[in-house]
Amino acid sequence: MRLFQSRDLQLSQQSSVWIIPHERKMAFTFAAFCYMLALLLTAALIFFAIWHIIAFDELKTDYKNPIDQCNTLNPLVLPEYLIHVFFCVMFLCATEWLTLGLNMPLLAYHIWRYMSRPVMSGPGLYDPTTIMNADILAYCQKEGWCKLAFYLLSFFYYLYGMIYVLVSS
């Protein structure tokens, strides 16, 4: 399989200057740049998801008390959501509609979750007085695992997407 069209090669051989068309160069860097950034940020999101899973497990096994645990978990919630919003916006600018469509459900879920959080003066989702309720604890654990699975799949999807974009330009 040839990487470059023969026309370009001929052009270069004639002029001995490597000329690549301008608009193709922009599409190449911006979408691939988006995917690369998304790849790095998804690694951070995976880290957050694993932190959540460990934190809820610590709560369940009585290793830590709910007040301290909520004070560590609550500041991490908004950064996670904002990172996700950030690369949704990036994909919007890069006109990657399929990727954006796949991230829409998670965005809607984040918005719903934050809207229905308990009354709190600071940022966050977790209330130390209700978090030890077994139903809520089980829900948060499940949420942690599902998000980990989603972020892992997205990681590999962005990896594939980045290579695809790099290759198909």
């Binding site: 008390n65 007040i67 308990p118 209330d127 007085t129 030890m132 309720n133």
Partner: protein
């Protein structure tokens, strides 16, 4: 033997038979039947009690091997046909089906009660029954008899840390098997010696193994710090509103009277903080000639003006404290301050109490309007009788919740007394007590002159509040047999981990509820045990552990699960669950869930039981009061819609339902109604040379009221005496002290002590009702034609109102839902 004959004849004409026309004889008093279960217990198991019951046993022969007691609780009752299902006396709680020795040592049902006295073996069986599984506890209840163990070693299981209890099994003299995790443990040497009988080698005779409620003296292993002294801080609102209402006089007088009786020892400390738009502290140092007031006006950053002498030793500074209490009401009579800085005052109280922990009692008379934690008026008076969702049942800000969590961490319990006449956002304020294990008291429209009933109630409540037993820096752990697990807790405390509850203060008047689920099958065990252990510091600085253990049989048949249902416990647990649901989702969801609970349970019974009649609404006898109690809950202030209810009163009703012990909740939900103008001595109790008449319980419907009578309704925290228009004049004269009906005042709040026999008998009956109670109810005498009678009639739950079903309509509604 002749006594049994009387019992038989009265009970056969009583509630046992489903024929309605025998009940007309019940009306008019003199009925002396006891409940059927109680009479069966007294009878020899092999005697033939009633011809009808043996026929019934053979009819239900398909159930195979069922005991007589079970046959009675499973007797099908057609609710649409039986008009009078209320037993004439309160039925005792159902007894679990255990052997006699286990039954004798089992925990008292007043302390520990389970919704199902026969535990289903698997979660699938529990789901089939459609009944909630949970426990109702009253662990720190005032007890007359409490074995206290002073032993060097407290014997506990090595793996699950359960305390040794009457339901463990001794494999031989030296080893015992835990009944919760089945681990085999060794018996320590000290345990082999029995100090009570002075014998050696009989560990199963020791008091820990003979009593299911014991108290251990805890060693220093159970202390995180040296036991704290009793520390009491009173935070008082002294704004213009507060002084107008006059509560300060009542409080100061009450505290002066009870200063000696505050629980504690020589280390007891006391302090006072007052606030309006600024916070005031009082220097009570021993040696000062009079108390010194220190004012902090910077409410955005409240600081403590001096380090000591704000919380002083009660014994040493007693004279100064008395001077302060005498002077306090007068100090603020001319105040013009209308703002209330409650948040800063609470922050100051927290800072003061941080080093030691203790109890803070907050008295508030209006919405906090200044400083941190200020609240807005959220109630819309036009929406009070809305049939749609009720808004603002949850807190507006988490300031009070965060403060409560901080206080809980420092072992400070906060009790709230709200004495306001306008909206004060109790939904937000109550959080400060809910999570710090405090109590909430509410006196709507309190005024010392215009509302003497509330004023008297406040005084009596304060007396009990100041003198009742108290435990500090407490934690409670509830353990269950392997296979059962607890998933939700209800009550005023902070859940510190999956089964550990942190209670900054523990008092004898709070109840708790927990919901359980069955994680693994209980097939290989025949007994399920539950243990509640409460570790606390007594007011005298001794560290104690109070342990209660309950044992219940495990069953594998659905019919046995229904036979062992404890309807009062089920109602209370459902009330707790409904309140949680109404705060987290909505009130209408909670109401629907309650109705669905009844529908599902009765459908499950019909689908799985041997149904004799396909028409009508059939329930087992154990559950025959279920629809009635659920209807009563739906008409409670906490959960009702369509009737004008103030938001604060609704929220307070919710707080009560979640924190009161079971008996009080049942009286609130389904009050007791008695006719007292014609009480006779038949079947009266004879106690201590006084004769206490026992009138029968009446159903809560206007049908049972009559103009010629006087009726007493016991609602737990309030009692009504309704006097009919044509009530006989002897009663009005001899008991109430007025010549005729027309001269009765409209705001009578107590029965005078007259020397007539009628009066003595009535007062004996009312005192007997009040005996088992710790807080005295407010008492109102209501005439038939005053506006106050609506408060009496709203408790008649079986009647139709413009927004709610009557009992019969509710049954039809359930039947209709069941056939969908």
């Amino acid at each position: 033997f002749s006594l049994y004959v009387i019992l038989h004849s009265s009970t056969t004409t009583g509630s046992a038979s489903p024929v309605p026309n025998s009940y007309e004889s019940v009306e008019g008093g003199g009925y002396s039947g006891t409940s059927l279960q109680a009479s069966l217990r007294h009878l020899h198991p092999y005697s033939q009690p009633f011809p009808s019951l043996s026929e019934l046993s053979s009819a239900l022969g398909g159930l195979g091997g069922v005991s007589e007691l079970e046959a009675e609780t499973l007797r099908p009752v057609n609710l649409l046909q039986e008009r009078n299902i209320l037993p004439p006396k309160h039925a005792p709680p159902p007894e679990p089906n255990l052997s006699n020795d286990l039954r004798k040592v089992n925990c008292s049902p007043d302390t520990f009660r389970c919704t199902l006295t026969n535990i289903p073996q698997t979660q699938a069986l529990l789901n089939k029954a459609r009944l909630p599984l949970g426990l109702l506890l009253h662990p720190f209840r005032d007890l007359t008899q409490l074995p206290v163990i002073t032993s060097n070693t407290i014997v506990r299981c090595r793996s699950c840390r359960t305390y040794i209890n009457p339901f463990v099994s001794f494999l031989d003299q030296r080893r015992w098997k835990c009944n919760l995790c089945y681990r085999v443990n060794d018996v320590p040497d000290e345990f082999m010696y029995n100090p009570v009988t002075r014998s050696y080698g009989e560990p199963h005779k020791r008091p820990e193994v003979q009593n299911s409620t014991v108290e251990f003296i805890a060693s220093s292993d159970y202390m995180l710090r040296p036991p704290q002294p009793a520390v009491y801080l009173f935070v008082l609102d002294v704004s213009h509103n507060a002084v107008e209402s006059g509560y300060l006089n009542v409080f100061c007088q009450s505290l002066l009277d009870n200063l000696e009786k505050l629980p504690g020892d020589t280390r007891t400390r006391i302090g006072f903080v007052t606030f309006d738009s600024t916070v005031h502290f009082y220097n009570l140092q021993e040696g000062l000639s009079q108390p010194q007031m220190l004012l902090v006006s910077d409410i955005d950053d409240v600081f403590i003006p001096t380090h000591d002498n704000l919380l002083v030793n009660l014994k040493e500074s007693k004279e100064l404290v008395k001077d302060l209490l005498n002077a306090l009401p007068g100090m603020f009579t001319h105040t013009r301050e209308t703002q209330s800085a409650l948040g800063p005052a609470l922050q100051a109280a927290y800072k003061l109490m941080c080093p030691t922990g203790g109890r803070v009692s907050v008295f508030q008379t209006q919405l906090p309007t200044l400083g941190a934690g200020l609240l807005q008026s959220r109630e819309d008076p036009n929406l009070r009788s809305s049939t749609k969702n009720v808004q603002h049942l949850g807190p507006a800000t988490d300031f009070y919740k965060k403060l409560a969590l901080d206080c809980s961490g420092q072992q400070i319990g906060v009790d709230l007394f709200l004495l306001s006449s306008q909206y004060s956002d109790l939904a937000s304020l109550a959080c400060v007590s809910k999570y710090s294990a405090g109590s909430v008291f509410y006196y709507p429209s309190f005024h010392h002159v215009h509302n003497t009933a509330q004023s008297q109630k406040f005084q009596k409540d304060l007396q009990r509040y100041l003198t009742r037993k108290i435990g500090f820096e407490a934690v409670m752990r509830i353990r269950c047999t392997k296979g059962l697990s607890i998933h939700t807790f209800h009550g005023n405390f902070f859940v510190r981990s999956t089964d550990l509850l942190s209670l900054a203060n523990v008092n004898p008047d709070s109840g708790f509820a927990v919901q359980m689920s069955i994680e693994e099958s209980l097939a290989d065990t025949s007994l399920a045990c539950f243990q509640a252990a409460l570790l606390y510091t007594s007011s005298k600085g001794k560290r104690r552990i109070r342990v209660h253990t309950l044992c219940l049989p495990v069953v594998s048949q659905l019919s046995e699960v229904f036979a062992g249902a404890d309807i009062q416990a089920i109602t209370c647990l459902l009330a707790n669950m409904a309140i949680d649901r109404s705060i987290s989702s909505s009130l209408s969801d909670a109401r629907d869930a309650l109705v669905n609970a009844v529908v599902d349970c009765l459908t499950a019974y019909r689908a799985n039981g041997s149904n004799i009649q396909p028409s009508g609404l059939i329930t087992p006898a154990a559950l025959r009061l279920f629809p009635l109690y659920v209807l009563a809950l739906l008409k409670q202030k906490a959960l009702r819609t369509g009737t004008s209810t103030r938001l604060d009163e609704r929220v307070f009703s919710m707080c009560e339902l979640k924190s009161q012990p079971l008996l009080q909740i049942m009286r609130m939900a389904h009050p007791d109604l008695y006719r007292i103008d014609n009480m006779t001595e038949q079947a009266a109790l004879h106690l201590n040379d006084s004769v206490i008449p026992q009138p029968p319980l009446l159903q809560l419907t206007a049908e049972k009221l009559t103009r010629e009578g006087a009726f007493l309704m016991d609602c737990g925290s309030v009692m009504f005496l309704w006097v009919g228009k044509c009530c006989n004049e002897t009663f009005i004269r001899d008991v109430l002290g007025y010549p005729n009906y027309a001269s009765l005042p409209s705001n009578m709040t107590e029965i005078p002590e007259l020397q007539t026999m009628y009066s003595e008998r009535t007062r004996a009956f009312i005192s007997w009702l009040l005996e088992s109670r710790t807080f005295h109810p407010a008492f109102h005498v209501i005439k038939d034609d005053t506006s106050a009678k609506t408060s009496f009639f709203q408790h008649l739950v079986e009647d139709r109102t413009e927004s709610a079903f009557s009992y019969y309509e509710f049954l039809l509604h359930i039947q209709q839902q069941m056939s969908k």
